[in-house]
């Protein structure tokens, strides 16, 4: 189809348009409507006409879907009042129109500090809205491939979704390395050690741990292929699935809770050549997972 398009290099709106069937995207509350953050201008900070998130409806393989994409180039994708409310509105709309899936192209450092209180509350509102949609049997799918990663509150929201898809360049965690370094020093977490950052928060580690369900190359069509495969693939939370998750997370703590390095964890779970993981591409990682790793989740 397309010649290779880097997901990471596209902006939020381009990602949405390229991911969906050609010409099918209809944006809601787009830039022309200028629904902006009133708080940023009070602080003398530039605002964006879409408050850093693109939302709307469209078709994927001819099936109706809802979609949101955070713009990492605007305030790091931070969640403020309007930004968060657009996500909540889209998820509530899903309950009305029952799309084949809701896709969230997450790229965010979490709560936007300039509107921190509103952002914090909004994150919990998005979590509850995600879980409402999930409980209704409509799959919520997180697609994570932007350069800014998926951190803080967005990292929590991601793990409430039915499915998490990451590129091997993407990152997901709670606190970013810079926050940990500024709190406990460079000995705790050297945020400039790129290899360490990737081993700790990157897509490959998350995939080998089972924290993301799909690992793809940084390629728009690779994301699209997985998105199509996940249409209608709901994973409703049940008491049994939560008990299973509890057992898995308990086992993870007892088995690898003392490991200091991702490579030790991978080795523990059966990766015979942990030192070579960094050089593998997504396809090799997937093969490794299928052949060696004994199921962490």
């Amino acid at each position: 189809m397309n010649p290779h398009l880097s997901f990471a290099e596209l902006n939020a709106r381009e990602r949405v348009i390229q991911l969906l069937d050609p010409g099918s995207f209809r944006e809601m509350l787009g830039p022309a409507e200028r629904i902006v953050s009133p708080h940023l201008s009070l602080l003398g900070v530039p605002y964006a006409f879409d408050d850093g998130v693109v939302i709307g409806s469209g078709l994927l393989q001819n099936q109706p879907v809802l979609i949101a994409a955070q713009e990492g180039r605007f305030m790091g994708g931070g969640v403020g009042e309007v930004h968060g409310a657009k996500l909540v509105g889209l998820l509530q709309r899903a309950l009305q129109v029952r799309p084949a899936a809701v896709f969230v192209l997450a790229e965010s450092g979490g709560v936007r500090l300039h509107e921190a209180n509103a952002g914090l509350i909004a994150v919990s509102e998005v979590m509850r809205a995600v879980l409402d949609v999930r409980a209704a049997g409509i799959p919520v799918v997180m697609l994570i491939g932007g350069a800014n990663g998926c951190f803080g509150g967005m990292g929590l929201i991601a793990r409430c979704a039915d499915h998490v898809v990451m590129s091997d360049q993407a990152r997901m965690s709670m606190s970013g390395p810079e926050v940990i370094e500024s709190s406990h020093g460079v000995e705790e977490f050297d945020s400039r050690d790129r290899a360490l950052v990737w081993r700790t928060t990157g897509g490959k580690h998350r995939y080998l741990m089972g924290d993301c369900d799909w690992l793809v190359e940084d390629d728009l069509d690779a994301f699209r292929d997985v998105a199509i495969a996940l249409l209608g693939q709901s994973k409703v939370l049940t008491l049994q699935s939560l008990l299973d998750e509890q057992r898995m997370l308990t086992d993870r703590l007892s088995q690898v809770g003392d490991c200091d390095e991702a490579t030790e964890i991978w080795q523990h779970f059966g990766v015979q050549t942990p030192d070579r993981v960094a050089d593998m591409d997504a396809e090799q990682l997937r093969a490794l997972n299928a052949s060696q790793v004994k199921g962490i989740s």
Partner: protein, 233 residues
């Protein structure tokens, strides 16, 4: 207020709340026929993988063994634990799991009330108190993401401007009153705490109405309107 004093104020002697590490957990009697499950953290705990997992276990045990029993989530946290090891193990997954368990309990017919009884900083209570049917706070509680001097350093906005704006705009400055104005905190408990809890349990509402509340109170004018605009777009 520490957790022992709070337990006494809420339940008198009629409770069996204990502490294991940073987690407090147990049950209390609100009446002859009314037992409540209580779980939370103490002493400004940092929420790490163990703390999140232990709270999730307690919530799941309550759902399994005591269907319908109301749950009180007690919040006192300095925020998520800022350690590389917790991130390596997937802290966001552990915390989100706690949030999913609280949410599941609500859906399964448990009334869930949160109470910030000391401090709630940053992401530490997103997956506990803020996932309850409603979250309350004591008037002397502290809720914030970041203090103004630190916020000034990160955002490069002068402290003077931030201080001045914080007098009229609740959107970024620390303070429990700001969270009430924005609808994130339902109300403050300042009278008879046990009665406040009983009233909260009677009033719980499984629909998330916080954005509407924020608009009615004038602290969050846009969120509810934007949600509505998306619904009719």
């Amino acid at each position: 207020m520490n957790w022992q004093a709070l337990s006494l104020a809420l339940f008198g002697e009629l409770h069996a709340i204990a502490r294991t590490g940073d987690v407090i957990h147990g049950t209390a009697q609100l009446g002859p026929e009314l037992t409540i499950a209580v779980v939370g953290t103490a002493d400004h705990a940092a929420i790490g993988v163990e703390t999140a997992l232990a709270q999730a276990q307690f919530v799941l045990d309550t759902v399994v063994n005591h269907p319908g029993r109301p749950i009180l989530l007690l919040v006192d946290t300095q925020g998520q634990r800022l350690r590389r090891r917790d991130e390596l193990l997937g802290l966001n997954r552990y915390m989100a799991h706690l949030g999913c368990c609280v949410d599941f309990a609500r859906r399964s017919g448990h009334r869930v009330v949160g109470l910030v009884y000391d401090q709630a900083l940053s992401g530490g209570f997103i997956t506990s108190g803020l996932m309850a049917d409603a979250c309350y706070a004591l008037p002397e509680a502290e809720i914030r993401v970041m203090r103004i001097p630190a916020m000034s350093r990160v955002t490069k906005i002068s402290e003077d401007l931030l201080e001045a704006l914080s007098l009229t705009n609740p959107v970024f400055a620390p303070g429990v009153a700001n969270y009430v104005a924005m609808g994130g905190i339902q109300a403050l408990w300042s009278g008879d705490l046990k009665q406040d809890l009983l009233d909260a349990l009677a009033a719980t509402n499984t629909v998330d109405a916080r954005a509407t509340l924020g608009a009615e109170r004038g602290g969050r004018a846009l969120a509810a309107r934007v949600v509505q605009q998306v619904l009719v777009a």
